[in-house]
């Protein structure tokens, strides 16, 4: 676990949070769990760093918060994706896919053909 920790790229956390909230509103603890599970324990974050990211997204209006009761009947703050947040997620997802496709294409390239000189 310790060894396979991947560094979080800055900004990546935001899009992961948005993605985590796509299905239903969640509280912060549930979000950390979800990210960990869905990445097959590959993405580990210092759990506290999640919260400033959440608050910033909330202040930007991408997610909104409401107090509710957790599974174990405690008072917890639930976050929900806003319409603006959904749009942002779509945009970021598309951008990420294009980016990673480009990067992996380069990384998997065979010896490149020489550029044609006119």
């Amino acid at each position: 676990m310790e060894g396979s920790k991947l560094e979080f790229l800055r900004g990546t956390l935001d899009v992961l949070i948005l993605k985590a909230l796509v299905w239903e509103p969640l509280h912060g603890y549930a979000i950390t769990g979800l990210i960990r599970r869905e990445s097959d324990e590959a993405l580990l974050l210092e759990e506290g760093t999640l919260y400033p990211a959440l608050w910033r997204l909330e202040s930007k209006g991408l997610i909104e918060a409401e107090w509710g009761l957790s599974e174990n009947n405690r008072k917890a703050k639930f976050y929900r994706l806003t319409r603006k947040g959904k749009r942002q997620l779509q945009f970021e997802t598309a951008a990420w896919e294009a980016y990673s496709a480009a990067v992996s294409k380069v990384l998997s390239a065979a010896r490149p053909a020489k550029a044609q000189e006119a």
Binding site: E24, P25, L26, H27, G28, Y29, T32, E46, E47, G48, T49, Y51, P52, W55, R56, E58, S59, E66, W67, G68, L69, S70, E71, N72, R74, K75, A76, K77, F78
Partner: protein, 888 residues
Amino acid sequence: MKQTPIWRRYDRLHGPDCKSDVEHELRFHLESKVEELIARGWTAEAAQREAERQFGNLKEFQELGEQIGGKMERQSALKENWAKLRQDVGFALRQLARDPGLASSAILILALGIAASIAIFAFVDAALLEPLPYVQPNRLMDVTESLALFPRGNLSYPDYVDWKRMNRVFSSLDVYRGGSFLVEMPQGATPVPGMYVSAGFFHTFGVRPALGRDFRPDEDSVSAAPAVLLSYGGWQKLFGGRSDAIGQTVKLSGIATTIIGVLPASFQFAAQGDAEIYAALQPTGTCSRTRSCHDLFGVGRLKDGVTPEGARAQMKEIALALERQYPDSNRGQGASVVPLAQAITGDVRPVLLVLLGGAGLLLLIACVNVSNLLLVRAEKRRREMAVRGALGASRIRLVRQYVTESCVLVVVGAVSGLILALGMMRVLHSLISKDMLVGMPYLDHLGFNAHVLLFAAGVAMLAVLFCSAAPILRLPIGELRDGMSDGGRGSAGRIWQRLGKNLVTTEVAVTVVLLFGAGLLTRSLLNMLQVDLGFEPRGLATLQVELPDAGFPKDEQQAEFVRQTLDALRKLPGVQSAAVTTLLPVTCNCNTDWVRFVGKPYNGIHNEVNDRQVSPDFFRTLQARLVSGRFLSQTDDAAHPKVVLINQAFARKYFPGEDPIGKQMGDTDLTRASLRRIVGVVGNIKDGALDSENWPTEYESFAQDPDTSFSLLVRTSQSAASILPEISSAIRKLNPQVGIQDESTLETRIRDSYSASLHRMAAWLVAGFAALAFLLSVGGLYGTIAYSVGQRTREIGVRIALGAQQNSIRRMILGEAMQLTATGTLVGLVGAVASARLIRGLLFGVRAWDVPTMTAVAVVLTGAGLLASYLPARRAAGVSPVEALRAE
């Protein structure tokens, strides 16, 4: 997520608390983690440590959370207020849209009132508030000699030299005088306005040439080569803005002169706003050597720490010392030191302040009027407000709604007012004659600046206060039941009437003040235009002629040229007579001479009289009146003994109860060459401004004391203006080197003269304000009476049903209106006389308590009041009792 129990929703009823929110959220996370770890078999203690380790720096996150939370709360509070405001504005707009007539008239009235005050304030700002465009302008002083007749008299060159040497209060002291230079142009020699200045002049102002160099310190000495600087405009005009102008030598009035520099475009000097050529003032000529020849103005920069009062005291001491040293020439010559800004705008200040006062009063009326309109509407909405109050709308909320409505009206009014003000400023600026604008270069910067916009904002704020005050005072709090049950009538209606009537009375009173002021100013203007000039100004063409010094060095040559010119002009078709004078009538009481009489005791006092040199036909051309003796004749030339004519003011002052004919006079030493015999007395010809007194004047024969600069007067049987080109070409045909300027007619000159223009502006503008105020207050009166009649329909119906005659109903309504008008007029007249005393300085030939004007104002207002209330009165008399009683 489970459904939130209802109590949780009210958890934050007492306001948000982001600190505890953050704490709760993070604690929940840690506790969940610990629980999970314990469930996986960790001991409680180890689980707690592990949870905290995985979480990271708790404290740091907490602080970050509070920061972000606080920011979000401020944002949402702002958003909430914004939403509330938008809701209020939206509601106000809908309310106003329901009554577009009221909204548009209120906006129009406010726009007019606000525009007038902004436009006038822009002038006040440009003239009186904006600092002069020089370095430390408040340290610059206007420094001149001063004597009983001329509080701001000219300096003589020798006095200036002594003042400069002896004073310890100015870091620099310089002098200037106006002048003009003949420049060779394709259409012939053209006089170009300019100034003669001492070498340090521009340095004193803190102005550096944009091109070339300033005068050297010794460049104003007799031996220095002639050099000039050009104004930016002059450079454009004469050299098309070419930089090779510097160092060029041009002929100015026949003298080869080097152009050494060009002043920046921003430089302006009001004393001679159109000056294009600045020459170094070299003390050549006899005047510069004569202590009694005054032709200069001074400007000085105060040393650090010296006050204007201190400077004035020292200059007065110096003047006193010079008076003791040179008793002949300096008797009574004191010193005057006033801030330059004050010297420049001294005579427009009272006019501007009067106009600002007038605009302020107009604004007041506009506000009262709108306030009255809103009051009437508030009255109609009493029931609505009462219902809303009963349903729980707080007083603050209702007040807020009124204020929002006023704000919307005022904002729209103020924005339209700003646009309107821009137009008004253009119109006002174009009303000022070109001659006057030359002396007001500060008006070049007329426009919207920070001052003006700030003023507009202040005015708008006051208007909001004013417009919302009346309806708010009438909010039906505490009388909710009344408001709903009586439908806006009964006792509450009576209270409204009192307030509404007070507003109308105020309007009428302020209108009286404005009308009275306008009446007085108009009468002053008419008095000025009808003043006895002592001559017939119609049909007189005038122009000024400048002979180049180089071509006409001798007196005889100048006299001969004038004789030839007059002969040539008399031959032109339509010309009845032609003459010259060194100074046209209605110019100024100036160009004075000190005289002494042969055979009369003389104590060294300076007998100051206007001095003009005129040709024989001068009086006939003007159609002036001969009182005794004879006019000048062709033989009064250099070959014959000197003669002089005097005016009646002269005869009355120096020869009371005597016949002046045949008496001799001369200069203060009675030198032989100066002796001249009085051969005639003429009726007073107005020398100075229209509102000035007639000073003693002497008329010498031009042929016996010629000059290179003089004005032509030509009386024609046709239109005077149309013959001007022929006159110019006739003169040019005689000698193309001669400069000609100021082609005009005497009538135009008088109409555009400074004092006439100033009084005309004041009279027209105040009359305009008064007319608007009159319309507004009569409209206000009509509105109030009409509304009152509408409110009392039932009462009137009852009266009629009980047998009241139509006449008595009509009389009742008219009586009510008359009472308002009379009260307003009386209060207004008291205020009018008080404020008329403030404009005493602008009055001419009328007193501040002029009874005919007062009567006229009272009659006009009463008549208008009757007219305004006649329609509602007729409607009241025509009320059908059956319908009135059924109406509810």
